[in-house]
Amino acid sequence: MSFYFAIIGTRDNPLYTYEFGTSKSGGDGVARFREDQRSMNQFILHSSLDMVEEVQWTNRDLYLKTVDRFNNLMVSGFVTGGNIKFLLLHDQKAEDPIRQFFTEVHEAYVKTLMNPFYEVDMRIVSVVFDQRVRAAARKYL
């Protein structure tokens, strides 16, 4: 199982991206994407924003579950209060772990947002944030 996680700003600009593999059942946490799949992943995430924009109005929760599919890949989405989208590309269905992962990332993101020098839609370069996302990924996925 390989994952590709991205936080997308309000103007479709990526704020943070992280590629990782599963740590469950003996996984080493390294993504197994083919080289040409890397740019494809970004295309897929970008295109699934269309679906997020539609689903976010009908779904009660911030966690939108699986919003889009592309061949055998799935995209799960999460919107924050400030219309920032968390998107996770994954190849197996796992609703609950992804929810927990998103919730934890959301907390970290809100903390980042509290930084007086951080503006909405700015790229997140904080090392602390990065570590917390990695920890969450290891913990749940």
Binding site: T58, F117, R123
Partner: protein, 694 residues
């Protein structure tokens, strides 16, 4: 057990409302509405280009309607072919008639099963040589296309052209796209209206070639002859004898056994204006009328070749629905024979043929089909639909499966060895009824019959029939209704299409039929803005079909992008959500496919449409991908007029976005000036700025 007639009538499907009002087919309102639509979309939409959705609804519908039209076989005496060859038509009388059948002048009135009449102005028929029908059936059955074609050519001295081959269509597209490359400049100058652009687009031509010259096959009867033109000329010494002779040879022409032999015979006397006496011909014509009844016509033709310098010479119209293999042959022979492509006819001939074809269709062929439909509907379909018919089919299924499994085939009419039903069996007749109804555009009746047949074919395990009927159920359903609910799509269309594909691909390995089924459905779904997602879904499914060439893949990938673009703001249950990003992604993928196929201009076109979406993207992977494509295609923005327009429209939205970006950048800077943060944070700030600008 005789069928209770009143009951049967009651159970007939309600045909109260017309499937399509004649207004839908008239060109004038269509033009007007399309201009309104496109202007509206240019105001409101962000990413819709005027070429994609608003126009062409009628075009696409009409294309699909005109793909399934009655076929009329042509069986003539040697002297007729000789006369026509003197005029320069090497293919004989069928070739002379063919272009006139494709585009009938005026409206054709058709009565549906409820007695309501409707008129269609884009009605057409196809003329095919009777011998070609027989030969094409053989070829399709054996499945050895090229071997059979070579055999046919040696036997008759001329080739038989049949559609139904994806490879040939691809080969043709390859040549045509190459030509387009050479003549790109000239073609772009005469930029027509949007509909014209669409009609000239490669995908459009691809789809039309795919639907051209449907092969004669047991599982559908669209290409089976509905009527046969039997013609003699005034040169003939013993005309009535010859006609009788033609009748018998026509009946024993070696049509495949599954073709129903009871088609209409239409007798034509061709009078040679230059050599023979009209009074004698008129006498003969009177005699013919006495012998054969009303289905007769006298056609006055000039003999001898017409050249362009002659007075009142008219260019013979070019046939549109050529099989791909035939067009390939034309292209190959172009270098050998000069001037073969453009043939001229005297004006009197042109109007004479027009009148004859029109009269034949309106007064003989259509009434004949209506009569057949009425008969079959009363005798076969209503019996099957009635209570006793249901009971019969149910009990048949029940008892045969319980009593003895292996005798199941004995009680069914399906012949598994030849894979077909005999034309006299109720199943074959009902299929023919449904196909006739479809060709006469009575889609409600057609749909109800197709729906009935599904279970029959499924019980008989006649998989190819089953798949074809599933396919037509979906297509006729899409042609009946204007709006299709989400539920119908999920409960009806999706499973039907799935089954059709499964049967076509896995049980019959009939790639061509599967592709045709998918692409027609995709086009019909695409016309509805709220079905764009489904259209794209099925188009993507078409990409999974094995055995498609690079060009097909590129064309279909591009079409997926178009399908997503067809979805506008007003569509969907929630009235929100466009698919502009998805459309851009598929266009981008199509550009990649085009590059792989070596068709750089096509790739550039795709990039023109897709790039505005990604200009402001900050994804490294996407940027890299786009950069590589730009490099491969030597892309310079705003390639030509037409695409400039498209590009501008896309930019309209992006301009706003760029402004926003700039404002935010300014804000950042102002903030950094005012607050003067610590050094560490300053660096982070700078990184951000440099990132946004990069």
């Amino acid at each position: 057990m005789a069928a209770p007639d009143p009951l049967a009538r009651l159970s007939r499907p309600s045909l109260s409302s017309r499937p399509s009002t004649p207004k839908e087919f008239s060109p004038a309102p269509h033009l007007r509405s399309s201009t309104i639509d496109s202007s509206a979309s240019s105001v409101s939409s962000v990413f819709n280009s005027p070429t994609t959705f608003s126009a062409n609804i009628e075009d696409t519908r009409s294309l699909i309607c005109r793909a399934f039209v009655p076929h009329i076989a042509v069986h003539v005496s040697a002297d007729v072919d000789e006369l026509v060859r003197e005029k320069g038509f090497r293919g004989g009388f069928a070739e002379l008639l063919r272009p006139f059948g494709e585009d009938l002048q005026g409206r054709i009135n058709v009565r549906d099963s409820q007695g309501l009449s409707a008129s269609h102005d884009d009605f057409g028929v196809r003329f095919v040589g009777l011998a070609d029908v027989a030969a094409s059936g053989e070829r399709w059955e054996t499945g050895m296309a090229h071997a059979a074609m070579n055999g046919g050519s040696s036997r008759k001295g001329e080739e038989t052209y049949v559609g139904g081959s994806i490879e040939e269509v691809e080969e043709l597209m390859d040549i045509q796209l190459g030509e387009q490359e050479d003549g790109a400049e000239t073609e772009l100058l005469d930029e027509g209206v949007d509909g014209d652009r669409e009609r000239r687009s490669p995908y459009w031509r691809y789809l039309r070639r795919l639907l051209s010259a449907l092969p004669v096959s047991p599982h559908e009867t669209f290409s089976h002859p509905v009527a046969c033109v039997i013609a003699i000329s005034s040169r003939n010494k013993s005309p009535i004898e010859e006609l009788r002779n033609l009748y018998t040879t026509g009946t024993n022409a070696g049509l495949p056994s599954y073709v129903h032999a009871e088609y209409l015979r239409y007798y034509v006397l061709i009078h040679d204006e230059d050599r023979d006496d009209i009074t004698k011909s008129n006498l003969l014509y009177e005699q013919m009328r006495r012998h054969f009844g009303v289905h007769c016509h006298i056609l006055r033709l000039r003999s001898g070749k017409t050249v362009i310098s002659d007075e009142d010479a008219q260019l013979s119209p070019a046939p549109e629905w050529l099989a791909a293999s035939e067009e390939l042959a034309v292209i190959r022979n172009k270098d050998d024979i000069e001037g073969q492509s453009s043939l001229y006819l005297p004006e009197t001939d042109v109007s004479g043929i027009r009148t004859m074809v029109r009269e034949m269709v309106q007064l003989s062929v259509v009434p004949f089909m209506e009569r057949c439909m009425a008969t079959w509907n009363d005798q076969v379909a209503s019996r099957r639909k009635g209570i006793s018919g249901r009971f019969m089919s149910l009990s048949k299924r029940y008892f045969t499966s319980s009593s003895s499994r292996n005798s199941g085939s004995a009680s069914s009419n399906y012949d598994p060895t030849s894979g077909s039903y005999a034309p006299s069996t109720p199943e074959a007749q009902m299929r023919k009824l449904a196909d006739y109804a479809f060709m006469l555009r009575d889609y409600r009746l057609a749909h109800s019959i197709y729906d009935l047949l599904r279970t029959d074919f499924n019980n008989d395990k006649a998989w190819k029939y089953h798949a074809a009927v599933q396919e037509m159920t979906v297509i006729s359903l899409l042609l009946i209704t204007n709006s299709i609910s989400h539920k119908t799509r999920q409960d009806t269309i999706d499973p039907h299409l799935d089954l059709a594909l499964y049967s076509y691909l896995n049980r019959c390995s009939s790639t061509f039929s599967a592709l045709r089924c998918l692409l027609v459905t995709v086009e019909l779904l695409r016309l509805r803005s709220n079905c764009a997602d489904d259209a794209s879904k099925w188009a993507i499914r078409a990409l999974d079909i094995k055995g498609l060439g690079q060009l097909s893949r590129a064309l279909i990938t591009e079409r997926v992008g178009d399908c997503y673009r067809a979805r506008d703001f007003s569509g969907g249950s929630t009235h929100i959500g466009t698919r502009k990003r998805k459309s851009a992604m598929w266009k981008m993928l199509a550009a990649k496919e085009w590059v792989q196929a070596g068709k750089i201009p096509q790739a550039r076109r795709c990039l023109d449409v897709a790039l505005p979406m990604y200009e402001t993207s900050r994804f490294e992977g996407i940027d890299e991908f786009v950069g590589r494509l730009k490099e491969l295609t030597a892309y310079t923005p705003l390639l030509d007029d037409g695409d400039e327009r498209v590009g501008k429209q896309g930019d309209g939205a992006d301009d706003d976005e760029e402004e926003v970006v700039e404002k935010v950048e300014l804000d950042n800077k102002r903030m950094s000036l005012v607050v003067s943060p610590p050094v560490m944070e300053m660096e982070e700030e700078k990184k951000d700025d440099s990132f946004v600008q990069s």
